[in-house]
Symmetry: C2
C-alpha cells in the first residue's frame, strides 16, 4: 500500500508542479500555502531530487492547540481541569476561599486567568494527579463524551482543523513520521489524539508531571516535571525523537523556537508553517495581542523569511470536519 | 512487503508450532528459548488467535548493555568516558590528585569503580557536556572507529549478540515496534545503534543529561537529568512511548521493573526474556555477584514465573557476528 502511494506520488509529481492533479488536500483552496506544502513534499520525496530526504529522516512536528484544534476561549485542557475541580471540591472545603480554585468554582474564567502561570499549575497539579495514568486517560475520554465547547456547544473533538488533518495524512502517505510536540499534557493528549488524529501515543510529546512506578502502574504525582513550550520544545524533541525535524507546524510564539530549530537543519531543505487565525466568523481571529496562542515575533520572522503562513479565512474551504460539503465549494 | 511477510508467517505458523520450518533465528539452537520466542510471536500475530495483538500495540523493549552487546569488564561507555578524561586532562591539572579522575589517569579501573555511583556520575558529567549533541555523537563515532575492547581487542561494535539481532529483526518483520530502554546515555547510544542494530534514534530511550537550546543546537550541560534504571525504566517508557510494552528483553535486576511492568499488561499476552550470561569461554559468565549486570532477584522471579531464560552457552550457536559459520553447526 505504502509502495503504491509512493509510486502514484512519483508518477504525478514528476510532471510540473503547478499542473499537479493528484493530491489529498481537498479542504485547501488553491492558494500559496497549499502550493508550498505540495512543492515541499514533492521536492524532498522525489528520488532524483537534489533535495531528497531519506524516509528515516522525514520527521514532521506539529503543535496541537491552535494548530490542529481550536484553543479559544482558552485551552480545552483548562476546561477539563476546571470541571475536575468542581468534582473534587467537596473533598476540599478550603477551595471555596482559596484562589485560583475560588474563581474556578464561581465559573470566573478571567479570575482563573489572572492567577497566572502559577495558579494554572496549581489547578493542573490538583486535578491531574493521585491516580494511575491509564485511569486518568479513561477519565478524560469520559469527560470528552459529554463536555461541550462554551461558544460552539460542540464536543471538543469536533473542533479539529480538517485541512490540517489532511496535511498529517498527506505527510504520512509520503513516509513522514508525524509527531505532536505541544504544551498540552501528554496524558490529556494521549487520551484522544490516537483515535481522533490517527497519531499513536508514542508520537505524542507534551508537558508532563512527575510520576512514580508502583505494581505495574504509573502513578501521577502532584508536581510538574516538564513544560513543553518555547525553548523547551526543541529540548523535548531532542529527548523524545533525537533527530532535528525537517518540517514544523505551529501557530504561536510558543512554537517559534521549534520552528527555528527545524529551519536550522544543516543537511536538509525544511518547511515551516504557521496557521494564522484570521477567521472571526468560522473560528476566532487573533494574533499579536491574544492571551492564548500569541503570535507576534514569530509572525514578523515568518514574513521576513518566507515561511508558509496560512490565512485560515482565505485559504481553507472549511475549518471543521462537520461543515457541510457545500461549504467547500 | 510487510503484507507478504505477514502472509508467509500466517501460512507457516498455522501448521503445528514444533514443525515450523520458516524462521530467521539462525544462530539459535532449537532449545526452549527459541521455541518460546517463536510460539509467542506466532500466537500474538496470527489473525485468528485469541491472543492476537493489533500492530499498533506490538511494543517490544530491549535493554542494551549485557542484553544486546557485551558489558564486561565494565560498561563500554565508561571506557569512552575514561579515554575522554585523558584527552581533557591537560585542561584540568587538578585531576592528577582528585578522585575519581586520578584513578582514571592511572588506568586503575578498580579505583574508578570504588568511587561509586557518585564518582561515575562525575566522570560522565565532565566528559559528556560542554558541546552540542551532534558534535558529541560525532566524537563517539570517531572513538568507536579506533577504540578496542580490553580483553578481546575487538572494536566494541563487533561485540553485539548475533542471536539478539535476529530477535530484533524477527520482531520487526512481524510488525513490532522495537525500542531500546537502557541505562546507557541517549547520545552515546544514538551514535551507533541506528547503524549497528538498525533501530532509529527516535526508538532509543536512555539516561540523559540536562540540556539547553541555543541557536539551532542542543547544548549538553554539566548535570544529570534522568537515570534510566530499575524503577525508572517503566517511567522512561511512560514518557517516551506511552504504552505498556508486550515484550521485554533484559539481562539484569536493572531490567526487572521494566519486565514486571510488561508482565502486568492487563490486555495482552506478554513475553519476558532474560539473557543469562553462562558462557565463560565465548563471553563472560556472571549473574548474582557481578558488579555490572547483577542478576539475582530477577533470576529467582523469572524461574518461579516461567519467564524465558536464555542459556547463552547452550542455546546460542554463536554469540558475535564475527564468529565463523562453522561455529554455528
Amino acid at each position: 500500500m505504502k509502495r503504491l502511494i509512493v509510486l502514484v506520488s512519483v508518477l504525478f509529481f514528476s510532471t510540473p508542479l503547478f499542473s499537479v492533479n493528484f493530491e489529498s488536500l481537498h479542504s485547501w483552496k488553491n492558494g500559496n500555502s497549499k502550493q508550498e506544502i505540495l512543492k515541499y513534499v514533492s521536492t524532498v520525496t522525489e528520488k532524483n531530487s537534489p533535495d531528497f530526504i531519506p524516509e528515516k529522516d522525514r520527521i514532521a512536528v506539529f503543535d496541537n492547540d491552535g494548530t490542529l484544534w481550536t484553543e479559544r476561549p482558552v485551552y480545552f485542557q483548562l476546561y477539563f481541569a476546571m470541571d475536575r475541580v468542581k468534582v473534587l471540591a467537596p473533598e476540599h472545603p478550603e477551595w471555596k476561599t482559596k484562589e485560583p480554585f475560588k474563581s474556578v468554582l464561581a465559573n470566573d474564567i478571567n479570575g482563573v486567568m489572572k492567577s497566572g502561570e502559577h495558579g494554572l499549575l496549581e489547578i493542573v497539579n490538583a486535578t491531574h494527579s493521585g491516580m494511575d495514568s491509564e485511569s486518568f486517560k479513561s477519565m478524560v475520554r469520559e469527560w470528552l463524551k459529554t463536555a461541550r465547547h462554551p461558544t460552539t456547544h460542540r464536543p471538543y473533538t469536533e473542533l479539529i482543523y480538517q485541512p490540517m488533518m489532511e496535511v498529517i495524512g498527506y505527510l504520512k502517505a509520503n513516509d513522514f513520521k508525524v509527531y505532536i510536540v505541544s504544551g498540552g499534557g501528554i496524558d490529556f493528549m494521549r487520551s484522544f489524539i490516537p483515535e481522533v488524529y490517527g497519531i499513536p501515543e508514542e508520537h505524542i510529546i507534551g508537558s508532563n508531571g512527575k510520576v512514580h512506578y508502583e505494581n505495574g502502574k504509573i502513578i501521577k504525582d502532584n508536581e510538574i516535571n516538564f513544560i513543553d513550550d518555547k525553548e523547551t520544545k526543541p529540548i523535548a524533541i531532542y529527548y523524545g525523537i533525537g533527530k532535528q525535524p525537517v518540517a514544523a507546524f505551529g501557530n504561536s510564539d510558543g512554537d517559534f523556537a521549534m520552528m527555528l530549530y527545524t529551519e536550522a537543519h544543516k543537511k536538509y531543505k525544511t518547511l515551516q508553517l504557521y496557521v494564522h487565525h484570521t477567521d472571526d466568523k468560522r473560528e476566532f481571529a487573533y494574533d499579536r495581542k491574544s492571551h492564548v496562542g500569541k503570535l507576534d515575533k514569530g509572525l514578523d520572522y515568518a514574513r521576513a523569511n518566507h515561511w508558509t503562513i496560512v490565512d485560515m479565512k482565505n485559504e481553507w474551504k472549511l475549518i471543521y470536519p462537520f461543515e457541510s460539503k457545500k461549504d467547500r465549494e
